[in-house]
Subunit: 572 residues, 2 copies
Amino acid sequence: MASLPAGVGWRLLSSLVLFLWLSAAAHAATHHHEWEISYQFKSPDCVRKLAVTINGQSPGPTIRATQGDTIVVRLNNSLLTENVAIHWHGIRQIGTPWADGTEGVTQCPILPGDAFTYTFAVDRPGTYMYHAHYGMQRSAGLYGMIVVAAAPGGPDAEPFAYDGEHAVLLNDWWHDSVYEQAAGLASVPMRWVGEPHSLLINGRGRFNCSAAAEGTCNATLPECDAPVFEVVPGKTYRFRIGSLTSLCALNFEIEGHPMTVVEADGHYVKPFVVNNLNIYSGETYSVLIKADQDPSRNYWLASNVVSRKPGTPTGTAILSYAAGGRSPPPTAPPTGPAWNDTMYRFQQSVATVAHPAHVEPPPPRAGRTLLLLNTQNKIDGRVRWALNNVSFKLPHTPYLVALKRGLLGAFDQRPPPETYEHQSYNIYDPPPNPNATSSDGLYRLAFGSVVDVVLQNANMLAANNSETHPWHLHGHDFWVLGYGIGRFDPAVHPATYNLKDPILKNTVAVHPYGWTALRFKADNPGVWAFHCHIEAHFFMGMGIVFEEGIERVAELPGEIMGCGKTKGGGHL
Amino acid sequence: MASLPAGVGWRLLSSLVLFLWLSAAAHAATHHHEWEISYQFKSPDCVRKLAVTINGQSPGPTIRATQGDTIVVRLNNSLLTENVAIHWHGIRQIGTPWADGTEGVTQCPILPGDAFTYTFAVDRPGTYMYHAHYGMQRSAGLYGMIVVAAAPGGPDAEPFAYDGEHAVLLNDWWHDSVYEQAAGLASVPMRWVGEPHSLLINGRGRFNCSAAAEGTCNATLPECDAPVFEVVPGKTYRFRIGSLTSLCALNFEIEGHPMTVVEADGHYVKPFVVNNLNIYSGETYSVLIKADQDPSRNYWLASNVVSRKPGTPTGTAILSYAAGGRSPPPTAPPTGPAWNDTMYRFQQSVATVAHPAHVEPPPPRAGRTLLLLNTQNKIDGRVRWALNNVSFKLPHTPYLVALKRGLLGAFDQRPPPETYEHQSYNIYDPPPNPNATSSDGLYRLAFGSVVDVVLQNANMLAANNSETHPWHLHGHDFWVLGYGIGRFDPAVHPATYNLKDPILKNTVAVHPYGWTALRFKADNPGVWAFHCHIEAHFFMGMGIVFEEGIERVAELPGEIMGCGKTKGGGHL
């Protein structure tokens, strides 16, 4: 499939895919979920805060399905004055680009009082997530996990065995509201919210109540008890681990239990063993551990901040051997690797390649290469992020509708730049021209073409500082062809790409002062966001959008419309 | 006009009104305003809070115009995930019912990124206000004043003289966000935000920083300096006073300066003198004062809570005689009358009648009478307010569109009850049946008919407690026919109505355990909300809606649509 020349045999292939789908559908299940989105006072870290919840819960319910199943989520917005949209992170939405849930890209926001139904197939097994994709709403608590089991006996059956499984969803958490956080980011000067107050595991953390405002913190609430993961001695467990942090790169460890990494973003990994796992916002991993330690006590699960100087206590949970009940381990929780050990994290990135039995080789070359310089900039005094000095802003008419209906005035028709002055730019200095421009232009891709994107990291506005950016692509998995530290040279580095067994992922880290090269095939008709998964960074312009095969997109459902130029149903 | 029999000569009258309008329009001005709604950190009482602002300000700019002018406000919603709608309080919107700004009644909310243009005539001189009318957004800071001068030489010229004028807009203010306040009201059990932290005068108050959370309060900010109103000794000043409190009935006083009340809600009052003025949320008054006190010092303007046990310090501003500069008066601020002296406030209500030269007599009788019992109730454990045991909920499709287009499924077609068991109900006891039902049904009025509404207050859920409810009618002024304390008896009290010189108002108080009778003519084609102006009370169901002459409403502008069943422009 991947080596088919672009544009050749697509009609045939589409028919084949359709046939396979229909065959599978006979056995596939449809899972209906009815969700109410509402504000609720929650105390995830013992401090009371208004959260945006699903059926009263944050995180929301875990969606479980089997490969080939269809998920139907009917979402009722019971917020008062605030709209909502939910993205199904890692689900490619093949044939259903309008269900991607990305406000401004694939749909209008869902108004209070309105209902909206997301219907999509989960065509690959693996560990996925969902979360709000509107403003900074994800940080308000609207997120959860999607677990898709492999079709029994199918070609995607897991190449590893285990006796039981647990799900671990990591997050960071502030007591300031997302409205305050967002307004602060847009203020001149920027009012930065600061480091997270807590790190959450499955929506639970533990703030030191003595540091909280009077009457807001209650350490005895069951709601902020440490999560407990039970294991039976001698058994092997799969831990599905996802991160939806707003800000932080994390390091996750299960005290005393080395982890064998077996899955990343829904793709099987050539197994490798780590004592702790670096995980970036938007990523998922599965690891295997064996419950082979002294069963008379319990062990910590620990989440620690890396890649920025930590100002947040370790997030903890308990691995419980039956004899230990729910008691905290007798040890201090692991504190993770040195936060600024970039190479430690870099090496783990490089180690993540495809499982030998599940290699899907990338096309040997790309028809087009985007070289995107990631910089922190300013526009009208506001701090922004930019790619090749262009800071992204979302249009008010979703691209999907605007492009399908030819509403050309809905966004800037000039495409953003494909490259930057890579010969002369010094990535180790703050940007010499900090003033960026903003645009809602997008990249239009030839359908079926192969595209390389090289993300080049650089110094921020302040000297001697470069952050880790986890970039997430909607509608696709991409091959991770290579990583480097320093400036990417198009004349040199492509020769070093791993074309043999690159992992397919939907989210990948760009390390401090580093570059990451990825390749994907533009074969999924729709409009797809590609952005840094740090909530504040996308909000501040760190993203781009791809269009491919818009003419192949089926008739759009009316319910994605209602805003901007689609206010009258797109007839305006 | 008012004595024309219903339904007779309306075509003729409409033509006449149109002619007069067109004649007036030749001399009338159009005032264009461009407003951006955004979040900003404000410190109105020295404590930093995220506010919803107009062009960065809260309160927003004062709109000034002359009778007969047209106001055009182009509103750009720059909030992030939150919609907005603005009501022009006291403006009857004759011929422009779609510009009333009442979300769910006359329009869909305005989405982030969208613009919406309100265009309406100010056909009467007087003191009016504007504010958000969506969720509890008004309490977030989105409010301001409208001052309409009388057309020079016209029949509505002011029957009083003054040398200068000042505007005073009163409010109450909490440090908790409106999202938290609203979620608290909807919680089981209800989480009540408590008494306001501050009382604001023209958006300024002064919180005691020692009681504020660390780092949030700064008493040296110019933003929370006391407002100063300058007067020249010997001159007479008109003070235009409005209240947009979310909760509190207020008493306003200008220390040492008796006030002559001359205007209420845009209608001239038979002048009477008070030492202090009771003012309820949604009301406006004009008073005259003479600057005849010792000019070597300054005097307090004071705003105090009445009708509920005050838990909020006096709101203050400074009346400055030139010699006093901006210095605070040497005295303690006035503390107002006893908060629980209902009869004191009752008597001031009764004293407010039409100016002898501006009496517009009411129709002698009504064709229909609604007797509405105001009670606090519960639905599914939630505290609600109800009229005749029906608690109002807003539909998700605006009535105006639903009725005009015959979208009958958009709301409950069963009208709410017209009366209650007034013979047997004991208003001094908590409701014997606290369980209400909720409905979005409305009252449909015969066009041109005369309608009486008697609002009957009662005891709340807790014993020995009855609050003051300021009821506000959209699209109309109504004659205030009478007030009483105790149970209204339809066989007795109508004979006591003041049909001679009742004041016309758009907002009127219903006193504790009391009743208020009002009359209006259903002659303004449109759909109009009528509700308690306490933000929390309307949010909790204390309102009804009238339809009249929907068939006479001109073609609706598309921009009021886009939600509920009008999502596709109303064609669904």
